[in-house]
């Protein structure tokens, strides 16, 4: 469709997109797209190239072009893996993200089914409350939560994060799964009810198998959100070996005035890889959960 905002006024007056000429499309579509893609991807290139540059090339722009690497090295990766707690940060992040995701999905499936299908009186208000809960940002909650985490004796433990991440995961997943459950025909459930199935059986045998795509979407998104979380992890975790990747890279790899740019970039790169790999396998689920959360 030739509806690009930037299109000139009169040129494509008479036709739809497929009639516009190639040179015009080149200027209106491909050129801006190329610029967007370049700007959006350049930091990743820069991250990668820095991560494999030896230190002498890293800060010597006179003899080496910064955009390329002459002698690629794995020294930063080696440093990261064997001389820092990076592997345990990766493990912590994975552990916390998986645990928080599993808990949130189970809880959300039950809640979404209750709100969307049981339709008890007041379920609409519960649905609205869940949506409002999604809008409460962590930057408002972290101070009182820090106090609670401390009083509960969870400070500096994985459980501090596993229990607090559902505060933003449950509203999101519930909201998303409500949308999926809504799209499953009532008739299926009614038949099962008539055949004498209990609500549990309906949920387990009919609704869940039919909403596998929704579960995948919610799971992937929840995992990514937990993996990327920062402010709670920064506030509730103190000891180096309990940190998550985002916090660990930022607080442990930056020492005094000497920035280990190579190691920092390698840390950032490897910390991003798990979510990027997951994302690349499930792009469509990811996009549908992102847009699904926004569409009502």
């Amino acid at each position: 469709m030739a509806n690009a905002a930037s299109t000139s006024l009169r040129a494509d007056e008479g036709g739809m997109g497929y009639l516009t000429s190639l040179p015009r499309r080149l200027v209106v579509v491909y050129l801006p797209l190329a610029v967007f893609v370049f700007v959006l991807l350049f930091p990743f290139y820069w991250m990668t190239i820095t991560a494999i540059k030896p230190n002498d090339e890293l800060t010597d722009y006179k003899h080496f072009s910064p955009l390329w690497v002459v002698k690629p090295t794995l020294q930063h990766v080696r440093y990261l893996l064997f001389e820092t707690s990076y592997p345990s940060w990766l493990w912590n992040t994975m552990y916390i993200a998986v645990a928080a995701t599993v808990i949130s999905i189970v809880v959300s499936v039950l809640a979404a089914y209750a709100i969307e299908r049981l339709r008890f009186s007041g379920s609409r208000y519960v649905g609205l409350a869940i949506f409002l809960a999604y809008l409460v940002p962590p930057s408002i909650l972290f101070i009182p939560l820090a106090l609670m985490v401390f009083k509960l004796g969870l400070y500096d433990s994985k459980w501090a994060l596993i229990l607090t991440y559902p505060t933003f995961l449950v509203p999101f997943c519930t909201w998303l799964l409500m949308g999926y459950f809504r799209s499953i025909p009532y008739e299926l459930e009614e038949c099962a009810l008539i055949d004498g199935a209990s609500r549990w059986q309906i949920l387990a045998r009919i609704i869940l198998p039919l909403s596998v795509p929704g579960l995948i979407s919610a799971g992937i998104f929840a995992f990514t959100l937990s993996w990327n979380e920062f402010i709670y992890a920064l506030t509730f975790i103190q000891s180096s070996e309990n940190k998550t990747v985002p916090v660990g890279v930022l607080t442990e790899l930056v020492r005094s005035d000497i920035y280990e740019w190579g190691a920092l970039m390698a840390g950032a790169l490897f910390g991003s890889l798990p979510v990027v790999i997951l994302y690349s396998f499930f792009v469509d689920y990811y996009v549908s959960s992102m847009t699904g959360a926004v569409k009502e």
Partner: protein, 317 residues
């Protein structure tokens, strides 16, 4: 949609009333059981802390020392605190500029991706990458890109002969503000673009055909077909975008920690700094509470944005 609930029973009229009544009773009970875990999590870790946060704002609690109620003292202190007002100003500036630019560029990118393109799915996938990776980690990449000495941007501009010495991106107040806003925009564009693209794809091509037949040109089709059809989703997307931007913490924490001379402190980072390293939980909580009115305004804006969709789609008013 409530009336669409179990309409199973008219087929068996004999004792339908009894079954219906029993069903309704058990549905309420069952609903409570199913909602219980979610309710516990949200009440304990969301509602209660929200209330606790508001309460803390009225106390002088410090780390390791329970506080006493001091009324509005924290807010009175903040009222005369120039750093706080600077943070408010920064937050609004950051939110407004970043949101507007994110919206404009995001819409543009969405319109481009909505064109007939080869490898469209591929482009859509890679464009979303900045939003997928952990913000802190991409912010670290920006930190390196903004390095005072070895910035790749400075190097490129010097090579192109545009400037003659490296730009001090994060050292100068104005430049630092621009730099963090640019990084926020970089991260936010994909979200806006991909969600708006989803909205664009639901607009029926026949509307464009009809508009074309009526002699509408490209701009008119955009202005009178695309934009009105997209308004409801724009309202929601931008509310989320504003909420995320307004409460942003990570980017600033990585890039500047609020410096130079507090020029990039946002309310969230100031709240953190006073509460956690500073130890003044009460004061930090008061700053966090001060963000709530702004967030409510954004939510109401979204609510009325959503309201529009009903009459727009010819539904009930």
């Amino acid at each position: 949609m409530n009336e669409a609930a179990p309409m199973t029973l008219p087929a068996a009229p004999i004792d339908s009333r009894g079954i219906l009544a029993r069903l309704r009773e058990s549905r309420l009970l069952l609903g409570m059981v199913f909602l219980f875990p979610a309710a516990v999590i949200l009440l304990v870790f969301l509602t209660y802390p929200l209330g606790l946060g508001i309460w803390l704002g009225f106390t002088d609690t410090q780390i390791g020392r329970p506080g006493i109620f001091i009324g509005l003292e924290n807010y009175e202190d903040l009222w005369t605190d120039s750093v706080f007002w600077l943070a408010v100003f920064n937050t609004i500036l950051y939110t407004v500029v970043a949101s507007v630019v994110k919206f404009a560029l995001g819409l543009w990118l969405a319109l481009i991706l909505n064109e007939r393109l080869p490898f469209k799915a591929f482009f859509r996938a890679i464009v979303l990458l900045p939003w997928v990776v952990p913000t802190v980690l991409s912010a670290i990449a920006f930190w390196w890109i903004y390095d005072a000495q070895f910035s790749i941007v400075s190097w490129s501009l010097i090579r192109l002969g545009i400037i003659d010495r490296p730009i001090n991106f994060l050292g100068d107040p104005t430049l630092a503000r621009a730099s963090v806003i640019a990084a926020n925009i970089w991260r936010g564009i994909p979200f806006v673009a991909i969600t708006l693209l989803a909205g664009l794809q639901t607009i029926s091509p026949s509307l464009y055909e009809a508009a074309t037949l009526d002699g509408a040109n490209g701009w008119q089709r955009f202005r009178h077909v695309t934009l009105p059809m997209l308004t409801p989703i724009i309202a929601v997307v931008m509310t989320f975008s504003v909420l995320f931007t307004f409460t942003d913490f990570q980017l600033i924490y990585v890039l500047t920690r609020g410096g130079p001379v507090n020029a990039t402190h946002l309310m969230a980072t100031l709240s953190f700094q006073r509460a956690i390293p500073g130890g003044h939980l009460g004061e930090g909580a008061a700053i966090a509470v001060a963000m709530i009115p702004f967030l409510l305004a954004a939510i109401l804006f979204s609510y009325f944005g959503m309201q529009r969709r009903r009459w727009q789609q010819g539904g009930r008013d």
